[in-house]
């Protein structure tokens, strides 16, 4: 009788073993990555790491250090990644203050503000060496050159960050009829007293039954001081730039015509300057 059973029991055994092996290796004891780099974190944790880099930058104004921290991620365009993260944060109802920190770093990443270099003081230390190099220093000569990834800039460099709280005046207001722009956009540009684009400026838009809040600098490719808002036809909007600026009223999607007589909705371009 036993001879008639064939060799199916071997296949049964392999299937049982395979099931156990997969269960153990994929769920019970999966691969864990130790000594990981921030680029190995999940996207959400990478966002958190970038946010901390932005908050640290806001506190110390050390752009070189912030750039070194972001270069760890091997992003093609770190400024764009930061801007996108700020947008996602606002869209998901996150803290506007956090989004503003991200937007500020996004704007400054490729457009650093003029730096004011203070004379060195005796209390300042030399540039810290990266950990990899530091570990080698027990046997290596002092001439080892730090790799750019973890090279921090010395604290002697201070930056003159903009005063976001100063009020803004409307400098330019014009209707934009451009068939190439398919949406009816409210385009805002904020500049400081010297005419330099200013990121991280709060823009508040209100209409009859709603409001929205966002910040300049989320599109660093356009300009660090740029922001826009998509208007709906037949709704009138009011807008204020900054926390104590002038309120601009009567903004709406303007009817425009192209060269062939077809009508489309245009937008507005508003330029604000800081007093």
């Amino acid at each position: 009788m036993n001879e008639d059973r064939g060799n199916w029991f071997l296949l049964t055994g392999i299937i049982i073993g395979l099931a156990f092996g997969l269960l153990y290796s994929l769920w019970l004891n999966p691969v864990t990555y130790v000594d990981a780099a921030p680029g190995s974190l999940s996207p959400a944790n990478q966002d958190h790491y970038r946010l901390m880099a932005a908050l640290a930058y806001r506190a110390n104004g050390d752009l070189g250090r912030a750039q070194a921290r972001l270069q760890i991620f091997d992003d093609d365009n770190p400024a764009y990644t930061l801007g996108a993260q700020a947008q996602r944060m606002l869209a998901e109802g996150g803290d506007p203050d956090m989004a503003r920190a991200l937007a500020q770093l996004a704007a400054d990443y490729n457009n650093p503000l003029p730096e004011v270099v203070l004379p060195p003081t005796p209390t300042l230390e030399a540039t810290p060496t990266p950990p990899e190099v530091a570990m080698l220093e027990e046997t290596a000569t002092p001439e080892v050159t730090p790799t750019p990834v973890m090279t921090f800039t010395p604290r002697a460099t201070l930056r003159s960050l903009p005063t976001i709280a100063a009020p803004f005046d409307l400098r330019q207001r014009e209707i934009v009829c451009d068939p190439a722009i398919t949406e009816s956009l409210l385009q805002i540009e904020a500049v400081d007293g010297d005419g330099a684009p200013l990121a991280g400026v709060q823009v508040q838009i209100t209409w009859s039954d709603g409001e929205d809040l966002f910040y300049t600098g989320l599109y660093p490719r356009v300009s660090p001081g740029y922001a826009d808002f998509q208007m709906e036809p037949e709704i009138v909007y009011s807008l204020r730039v900054g926390e104590a600026g002038e309120t601009v009223t009567g903004l709406y999607a303007s009817p425009c015509e192209d060269g062939e007589g077809s009508s489309y909705w245009g937008g507005w371009l508003l330029r604000f300057g800081q007093q």
């Binding site: 036993n2 299937i15 073993g17 153990y24 691969v31 000594d35 974190l41 640290a56 950990p131």
Partner: protein, 120 residues
């Protein structure tokens, strides 16, 4: 004969288990982008703590700092700060950075968590 079949059956299970383990650990392991922050390399953990300390120096909010340090794991938050200070001291971080982390460590030492504190 039955004992021989049993032996082959057990061998088949072992072969199947080895194939399953190899698949899960080597052929198709968990995605690389799934590392937990607690497994960050020591230098990156130290730099993270330094970022938290720098942000704390600007904001002065110890509850936020404690919440941010929980990113690194479930230990008491000051453990991470002390580890970072130790690492920084051993690897020639600047005195300014070490003092920044020391200030955070002292603030955490004096901090008593409140139920409604810390959310960011």
């Amino acid at each position: 004969m039955p004992s021989r079949r049993l032996t082959y059956f057990i061998l088949a299970i072992i072969v199947g288990a080895v194939i399953g383990l190899a698949f899960g650990w080597f052929v198709r392991p968990a995605p690389v982008r799934s590392a937990s922050p607690q497994y960050l390399r020591a230098d990156y953990q130290t730099d993270y703590v330094l970022m938290v300390a720098e942000a704390y120096a600007g904001e002065g909010n110890v509850a936020n700092a404690a919440e941010r340090l929980h990113f690194l794991g479930n230990e008491q938050v000051n453990v991470y700060v002390r580890q970072a200070i130790l690492y920084a001291g051993q690897h020639n971080y600047s005195q300014v950075d070490i003092e920044t982390m020391n200030a955070l460590s002292m603030a955490l030492g004096n901090w008593i968590p409140q139920p409604d504190e810390g959310a960011k």
